[in-house]
């Protein structure tokens, strides 16, 4: 034997191989543990092995452990040597090791990319713009279809009111309205306080502190009460609509419903939508009262306006139409929030992940729609002179 060389890994991995020449054979002996942890250091020396032309014998008898990683390294070496024209002879492998090596042999050799094919950024952008355009039109069409389906279901219910799911409707009213009373009440109360403080600060400069009451009354009743309530309800209940309906869709409950002849719009969407349209105006009214109460507390305690003065000023500042101009918006906002929530819920794709994505979308959409609608109302009211 001549020119013996040994490569060994650092303990504790202890995998090694030895090269030697004997009787015209180039002998490679593999020993120790050829596992994932030891090939980290064996991969490099193995890949640069260049035996002299001729026959190569690989002796695996001293191997104590071989896993897929080790087997892959060994297999790659054998393949490389065979391609380079060597005659390779394997010996000393246990049956299990032979089976493992055979498994490597059977694997498809084709080198398919593990990542998605690369697309030029410009082309990708054009494709994105195109597909987004299509998506927008498709969504507009779907939305119109959905509104149509809801209208049909609503008409059916009006014609035959016994079809309305009363218990479901009441339970939704409780969840949207009653359960939201503490949070909506507290928030409105605090907003009333904030408004009174800020208003008083500015108006004091002109000695017109008493007009804080006008500011409070008009802004709360016309805008803030209903708007804040709508935003709160969109976050609280609109999102819940999407999550509930979306989860049912993922669980195939909605498909099950359809096969039993139940209309998901009638069973799921209508009760939620109607409940929202009933609960939101009530909540908005409550929010108005709480905000005025918050403002009154500040006026009486901090601004030294007496309760009587506050009430007198308030009744002179506001008119009934003002109150109605605020509260009339509530059912419209409710309709938008409920529709967005239910629509997005029915559009969930994929699993739980899709429910989350759609829920976020529903909340953003409904708040957006509410504010757009509010602006439209402002223009409309001012044009008819309210």
């Amino acid at each position: 034997m001549t020119a013996e060389q040994v490569f060994a890994t650092q303990p504790p991995e202890d995998g090694w191989f030895r090269t030697a020449s004997a009787d015209g054979w180039f002998v490679l002996t593999f020993g120790g543990r050829w596992t994932l942890s030891s090939i980290e250091s064996l991969a490099q020396p193995v890949s640069v092995l260049e035996p002299p032309a001729g026959r190569v014998r690989i002796d695996l008898a001293p191997l104590t452990a071989l896993d897929t990683a080790g087997a892959w390294l060994l297999f790659r070496l054998v393949r490389r040597l065979r391609q380079a024209g060597h005659q390779v002879h394997l010996s000393g492998a246990s049956p299990a090791q032979t089976a493992l090596l055979a498994r490597m042999q059977n694997l498809v050799e084709e080198r398919r990319p593990l990542a998605r094919p690369f697309v030029w950024p410009i082309r990708a952008m054009v494709e994105r713009v195109g597909s987004t355009t299509f998506t927008v039109f498709r969504r507009a069409r779907n939305l119109v279809t959905f509104y149509g389906m809801c209208a049909v279901a609503l008409m059916r219910t009006l014609v035959r009111p016994e079809r309305l799911r009363v218990i479901s409707l009441l339970s939704h009213i409780e969840r949207i309205g009653l359960d939201a009373v503490p949070i909506v009440g507290l928030l409105s109360f605090l907003i009333g306080i904030v408004l009174a403080y800020q208003g008083a600060d500015q108006l004091r400069t002109y000695g017109a502190e008493i007009f804080t009451v006008n500011l409070l009354g008009v802004s709360v009743l016309r805008e803030l009460g209903v708007l804040l309530t709508a935003v709160m309800v969109a976050g609280r209940s609109g999102s819940a609509f999407t999550a509930e309906i979306g989860t049912m869709l993922v669980n195939e409950e909605i498909d099950a419903m359809r096969t039993m002849g139940l209309d998901p719009i009638e069973v799921l969407v209508l009760p939620r939508l109607l409940a929202m349209m009933i609960a939101l105006p009530l909540l908005a009214f409550f929010a108005n009262m709480m905000a005025l109460f918050g403002g009154a507390v500040v006026s009486v305690v901090v601004l030294n306006i007496s309760t009587g003065q506050f009430l007198a000023q308030l009744s002179s500042a506001i008119r009934t139409t003002m109150f109605w101009a605020g509260i009339i918006k509530a059912p419209f906002f409710a309709f938008l929030i409920g529709m967005a929530g239910c629509y997005e819920g029915l559009r969930v794709q994929g699993g739980a992940e899709g429910v989350g994505r759609q829920t976020t979308k529903a909340v953003v959409e409904s708040i957006f729609l509410v504010i757009v609608a509010d602006a439209a109302f402002s223009i409309f009211f001012s044009s008819i002179g309210i």
Partner: protein, 260 residues
Amino acid sequence: MMQETPPVIRVRGLVTRFGSQVVHDGLDLDVRRGEILAVVGASGTGKSVLLRTMIGLHRPDSGLVEVFGQDLWSMGERTRREIERRWGVLFQNGALFSSMTVAQNVRVPFNEYTRLPAKLVGDLIRVKIGMVGLPPDTGAKYPSELSGGMRKRAALARALALDPEVLFLDEPTAGLDPIAATEFDRLIRDLQQSLNLTVVIVTHDLDTLAAISDRVAVLVDERVVVGTLPDLLGETHPWIQAYFHGPRARAALHARETDA
């Protein structure tokens, strides 16, 4: 099976309770090196909980769980990590990370535990994906683009990524058609033999039981009765009798005899 080597997993006096409901009461179980142990039992007898206890996802109310000779619940963070590297788990629905492609899923354990050159890792990922019988282009696909059977195979590839010594399978053949299930059984058997794996399978599938298990642990009366299939056929416990002598069991066992 060699009796002298210490068991890979040793469970002693395991007690699991959910509220007032006792699921395991003084359960003892050994998993021996290199065996395929099937865990069976009626629904609600705590098969999956037992598996989750063995891999440290569920803390038992009392009792000892030793993995590779070390107490799972008193070991330090480092030992725990080393042990976690030595086992692979296939969850019932695959539990592939849905935001990653199959190849990225299989890459996760490599990134977490090894510092191999990227090209070699790529090769090894291809090897694993091929080993579980998936076509090579599966690597670039997302889990949502795969069928149930393919997802299971992809999840198996991830479980096998680091060549674990122990493989835990939770209902691997549930939801697969009989042909795919048989193939999956054969795959597990092949891998177990060529990689010398220790396999723990929670299953309802009598065919799996008959085809590949070395021993069977039956959960009855909050404990386990362990034995080879012939042992269990002679058991007198009424549930075990009903399980192994029902029409389905007879068909599966008959198939096993004609196979052999």
